[in-house]
């Protein structure tokens, strides 16, 4: 199933993202303090995501018209997941609404797709007999500040490589 990538007002065309990779990195104001006997205490002031999206395709990305000085709502193409032993799973609120949530039951260590019904941020997965745990997959969306994309365009070979990096606002 293809989930289109949306940056701000722009939906990246399929032919611009024939090859697509997205990385998520945590960026946080956090520190792991060590006491003098070695005990650890983690202190967090804030925690955000940094994402790097690289795409390859036959046509350019279509991002030239975006105002990079404002934050853009990024609807990701790469999913995140939550695992639970129960079939009722609470998902983070920063989720794409246009693409649904996919649910799986893990049976014999293999994922078996099952139905999902959403109520707010809670996903209730259809039970599957023999399932030892359940797994819900969602596509995140958040506001991020992006820098204009790096592009590598092979003019004669009609291949475009683009790279877009941004941090959650």
């Amino acid at each position: 199933m293809r989930v289109p990538l949306v940056i701000g007002p722009v939906t990246i065309p399929e032919y611009a993202m024939l090859g697509l990779e997205q990385t998520y990195e945590p960026v946080e104001g956090a520190v792991l303090l060590r006491a003098s006997d070695g005990s650890a205490l983690k202190q967090t002031a804030w925690s955000k995501l940094r994402t790097v999206i690289t795409g390859t395709g036959w046509i350019p990305d279509g991002l030239a018209g975006i105002d990079w000085s404002s934050p853009q709502l990024m609807r990701a193409s790469a999913p995140q997941s939550v695992w639970s032993t129960s079939n009722v799973i609470t998902l983070p609120a920063a989720r794409r609404g246009d693409v649904g949530v996919r649910g799986f039951a893990i049976v014999d260590d293999r994922p078996v797709e099952t139905s999902v019904s959403m109520a707010g941020d809670t996903a209730t997965l259809g039970t599957v007999s023999g399932a030892t745990s359940y797994y819900a997959m969602y596509w995140p969306e958040f506001l991020a500040y992006f820098a204009p994309p790096q592009q590598q365009i092979d003019v004669t070979g009609a291949a475009v490589r683009w790279r877009l990096a941004g941090e959650e606002a």
Partner: protein, 629 residues
């Protein structure tokens, strides 16, 4: 001709209406034409005005919101934190960036430093308007979902110095809790009220000092520090309170790695003994009185047989009054007996006649009292040694000497203004018979000595707490300078009063820590008890006796066989017998009264309290628990 009568009914229906008069007039004439007439008179002349002022005002109220927050006292998870701040009543939490620090040191104002994003200019106005705006800084602990669970105050004060960098457009503010200004606004009674148990004497400190100097003077007599807490309320924090369990106790699992430091005291900076020499100089007003008694040594029969000159009453009186001393009352005189028969042994009855006026003039005896006043300067010296034996055994005797002088030597001239005056009320008898009144202020003496002792105690105790242990722990907003804390880590176990607190909250790194420095008293505990601060008793300043108050005046008579040569230094009555032996010296008749000088009592006198030795005052050192392993 008929009168037209028109009943009128006037209806005024509106304030700015017009007068409407409706009339119906019927005119009848006999016999002929009757023409009913209906006349309507509408007056258009002028208008009735009622000026009205209608003010339409919105129903306005002056109001402010009251936000009441009840926070979970059981929430102890400190791992997720945010900073919250208000400047000038406006919430600027979203504008905080970088690192915020709050530093509080014993005896100094609490200082906070914050950095703000450029939007601060829009919210608060230009930075030059910020000084004086009230500042509140809190740390907020949130749960995993981001909901605020606890909010703890770190700092309450005002903006002191803003700094603005136009290139990056970031602002930083340095804030203070205005400790010194708060003290400056108090009066003397207010300062005495916030420092109970402190001493002050105008013989030791400047009576005209400004409030801050007065505050420091009073505080220098207490073994304590006075600071504002994180809410801005003043607290007097003794350096040691017996039996206190520490407010905070941090062990190896809280004290951050590599943050423990210990500073040990220099022996040179320690004072274990203060020797106070206090001299109190004052005026002793003396009034010396003497009674003079003169009696002619002969009996009347001798007088009749040998004859003698006798002095006049006036001569005696002027001799007494001319001494320079004051004559108390009038002399009393013994007179010759009046004319009559006198029986003398071996001579039978003799006739004795004397003119009455002559008899009244002469005296065979006289008694009079003279008095004089003079001033003696007396100095009382108190030697007090304030000493901490437990510190001496650890560090040796480290001695400081102080000498203080107090004077009461001003005053009115002490003499008889116009003739004799009795001794002043309250005068006591010296051992030598003088009446003495001292210009002495005992309460001032006691205050001054007690203040000096208290000052010396503090000086000694202050020098004994130079040993400090420092440790850093994860953010603990409630640590105050009036708390006792125990730090245990890396082999060091120290419990002492908090002398310095430093909170550092770094938003970029996510690190929020508190650095705590405790001050430790170090000595060899030996169960010494503190002596109470009290001034020693006055030494005995009275002269020993005996009191000599009566002087007998002699009589020297010339013209007798055994009369010695005249000596100009004689006092008393110098006269002659009226039967002259030939060759006997004849004296110049006179009556001489000599008054004693003040003698040693006019010289300055010094008296030592407690026989001149050092009066001991012991200081107990409240040794803190310190283990270094």
């Amino acid at each position: 001709m008929a009168l037209i009568q028109a009943p009128m009914q006037i209806d005024v229906v509106a304030p700015s209406g017009r007068l409407l008069v409706a009339m119906r007039i019927a005119v009848r004439q006999r016999g002929q034409v009757s023409a009913p007439l209906a006349l309507k008179i509408v007056s258009g002349f002028g208008q009735v005005r009622a000026p009205m002022a209608i003010a339409v005002r919105a129903a306005a109220r002056v109001s402010v919101g009251l936000r009441v927050t009840v926070q979970d006292s059981t929430w102890s998870d400190r791992s997720r934190w945010r900073l919250a701040a208000e400047i000038g009543g406006q919430d600027v939490s979203a504008l905080l960036t970088g690192t915020a620090t709050v530093e509080a040191e014993e005896g100094a104002a609490r200082i906070a430093e914050l950095s703000l994003l450029p939007d601060a200019l829009t919210v608060l106005g230009p930075p030059d308007t910020w000084p004086g705006k009230p500042v509140l800084l809190d740390v907020v602990f949130v749960d995993a979902a981001g909901t605020q669970r606890r909010r703890e105050r770190l700092f309450t004060g005002v903006v002191d110095t803003p700094a603005y960098d136009p290139r990056t457009r970031t602002c930083s503010v340095r804030c203070t809790d205005e400790f010194q200004q708060r003290i400056e606004r108090l009066d003397r009674a207010g300062i005495a009220a916030i420092l109970p148990g402190s001493y002050w004497s105008d013989r030791v400190f400047d009576a005209g000092a400004e409030p801050w100097a007065h505050f420091e003077d009073r505080l220098s007599t207490l073994a304590a520090s006075y600071d504002l807490d994180r809410f801005g309320a003043g607290r007097l924090a003794p350096w040691y309170v017996a039996g206190t369990t520490p407010h905070w106790s941090w062990g190896p699992s809280q004290v951050l790695d590599r943050s423990v430091r210990i500073v040990l005291a220099h022996r040179r900076s320690i004072t274990t003994t203060v020797r106070l020499t206090v001299e109190y100089r004052y005026r002793r007003r003396r009034q010396r009185e003497r009674r003079y008694v003169w009696k002619h040594p002969w009996t009347l029969c001798d007088y009749l047989k040998k004859g003698s000159t006798l002095p006049d009453k006036d001569t005696i009186r002027s001799a007494a009054a001319g001494t320079g001393w004051a004559l108390k009352g009038e002399p009393s005189y013994d007179l010759l007996p009046p004319s009559g028969w006198i029986r003398c042994f071996g001579a039978g009855l003799r006739a004795w006649t004397i003119r009455e006026d002559l008899r009244q003039k002469l005296a065979v005896g006289a008694t009079f009292e003279l008095a004089t006043r003079f001033v003696q300067t007396v100095t009382e010296r108190y030697r007090i040694e304030v000493r901490a034996p437990e510190a001496v055994s650890r560090y040796g005797e480290q001695l400081v000497e102080e000498t203080w002088g107090m004077e009461e030597t001003a005053g009115d001239e002490w003499r008889f203004e116009a003739g004799y005056e009795p001794p002043p009320a309250g005068a006591v008898r010296d051992g030598n018979g003088d009446w003495i009144a001292d210009d002495y202020d005992d309460p001032a003496r006691v205050d001054a000595i007690e203040t000096l002792i208290a000052r010396a105690r503090r000086k000694i105790l202050a020098s004994l707490r130079a040993t400090r242990v420092y440790g850093e722990v994860p953010i603990e907003p409630g640590v105050e300078r009036h708390h006792v804390a125990r730090i245990q880590a890396l082999g060091i176990d120290a419990t002492g009063k908090v002398a310095r607190v430093q909170h550092t909250l770094d938003i970029d790194a996510g690190r929020a820590t508190t650095g705590v420095e405790v001050a430790l008293f170090v000595a060899d505990p030996a169960g010494v008890t503190d002596d109470l601060v009290s001034a020693p008793a006055r030494p005995d300043t009275l002269s020993p006796g005996p009191a000599v108050t009566v002087i007998g005046l002699p009589t020297h008579l010339g013209g007798l066989a055994d009369s010695p040569p005249e000596d100009p230094d004689w006092d008393g009555y110098i006269g002659n017998s009226t039967t002259f032996w030939s060759g006997a010296p004849v004296y110049d008749e006179r009556f001489v009264v000599k008054t004693p000088g003040s003698g040693a009592d006019g010289d300055p006198a010094e008296f030592e309290a407690a026989g001149g030795g050092w009066i001991p005052h012991r200081v107990r050192v409240p040794v803190d628990a310190l283990a270094i392993a």
